[in-house]
């Protein structure tokens, strides 16, 4: 059930939490998502290592409509190259004002999700294209 209109709700949710509880409130929400909601993914990464990371993100982006994304593993590093972000694309196509901190959720949620597996996350870019690097055992 990949309904791209759900991106509209994700964007609205971030904006509403930020409007009500500020940046700290939004960070807390994203960290709770990463640590609690995605706890099973953390465990999958902890047990399966970087191949599990690659497989998770490959399957994830295969299901997201409208994106142009590649996922590659090189040893202890998995690199996600987002040439077209499916969420940003959909929000733009529907004329929605993108919540200014929207792209930061990828860094914060993923870092919270991966810290229990000893994996670091670095996201560079944003606004529709970015590079996300997941590394084993680097200060996570």
């Amino acid at each position: 059930m990949a309904a791209p209109d759900f991106y509209l709700a994700i964007n609205a949710t971030f904006r509403w939490i930020h409007d009500n509880w500020g940046e700290a409130g939004l960070m807390d929400y994203w960290q709770a998502l990463g640590r609690e909601h995605y706890a099973d993914v953390t465990e999958r990464f902890r047990q399966g290592g970087m191949e599990a990371v690659r497989a998770y993100w490959q399957a994830f982006f295969d299901e997201e409509p409208g994106g142009d994304v590649s996922v590659e593993r090189d040893g202890d590093t998995v690199t996600i190259t987002v040439r077209t972000c499916p969420a940003i694309k959909h929000l733009c196509e529907h004329g929605r004002e993108i919540m200014p901190l929207y792209c930061r959720h990828c860094q914060v949620v993923s870092a919270a999700m991966c810290e229990g597996a000893g994996i670091s996350v670095d996201v560079q870019g944003g606004g529709g294209s970015c590079v996300q690097v997941f590394k084993k055992g680097c200060g996570a």
Binding site: M1, A2, A3, P4, D5, F6, Y7, L8, A9, I10, N11, A12, T13, R15, W16, N20, W21, D28, Y29, A32, L33, E36, H37, F60, E63, E64, P65, P86, A87, H90, H94, H105, C106, V109, S110
Partner: protein
């Protein structure tokens, strides 16, 4: 990234996160402000000016996109949906996830403010087992006008939903096996009635 494919799972988590951190009132306000007014503004743009035609267009698109199992029926005065396979709750059950106590409540949470603004009230029941029905009716004489001041609740003179099968025939979810098997939550003229 929070994706759309498994959005329902994070949506359910979000309800419970808001409840435990900020209280029940925050969840209700989230549905009203973030979902009804902001996220679903495309539904408002269709339904408020176009009424039943807007509802048919909105749900024709969104329920197909979500691959829902449903039927709809309408008369001059009623727009009805019978949902026999809710994809959202189906996914939660498939994954064994239940962060928030009543995931189904979010639909009334965002639709009631929208329909109120559009001049309609909602009769609704859900059975917590992927089944629900909706009857959306004009708030009263003068639709789409202000709340009916002659009604004690300011809601509707049309306070009675149709009888099972009266409008939707055999598609009426209330006649289907499995409907009356659990706790049923009920709204009449947009007011919680159980």
């Amino acid at each position: 990234m929070i994706g759309c494919a498994e959005f329902i799972l994070s949506y359910d988590f979000t309800f419970e996160y808001l409840r435990r951190k900020y209280g029940d009132e925050a969840v209700v306000r989230y549905w009203q402000e973030a979902i009804s007014v902001d996220s679903q503004r495309h539904a408002r743009e269709l339904i408020i000016p176009n009424g039943f035609d807007g509802m048919a267009e909105y749900w024709g698109h969104t329920l197909a996109e979500e691959e829902a199992g449903y039927t709809s029926a309408r008369t001059e005065n009623v727009f009805r949906i019978d949902m026999y396979a809710c994809p959202s709750q189906g996914l939660l059950k498939e994954r064994g996830q239940e962060h928030f106590a009543d995931y189904c409540e979010h639909c009334m949470g965002w639709l009631e403010p929208l329909m109120d603004d559009a001049g309609f009230v909602i009769h609704h029941e859900h059975n917590h087992n992927c089944m629900c029905w909706w009857e959306i009716v004009p708030r009263g004489p003068g639709h789409p006008g202000p709340a009916d001041s002659s009604c004690p609740t300011g809601r509707s003179r049309m306070s009675r939903p149709t009888r099972p099968g009266e409008l939707a025939g055999q598609d009426d979810i209330r006649l289907k096996p499995g409907w009356d098997t659990g706790r049923i939550d009920r709204w009449t003229a947009s007011e919680r009635s159980n």
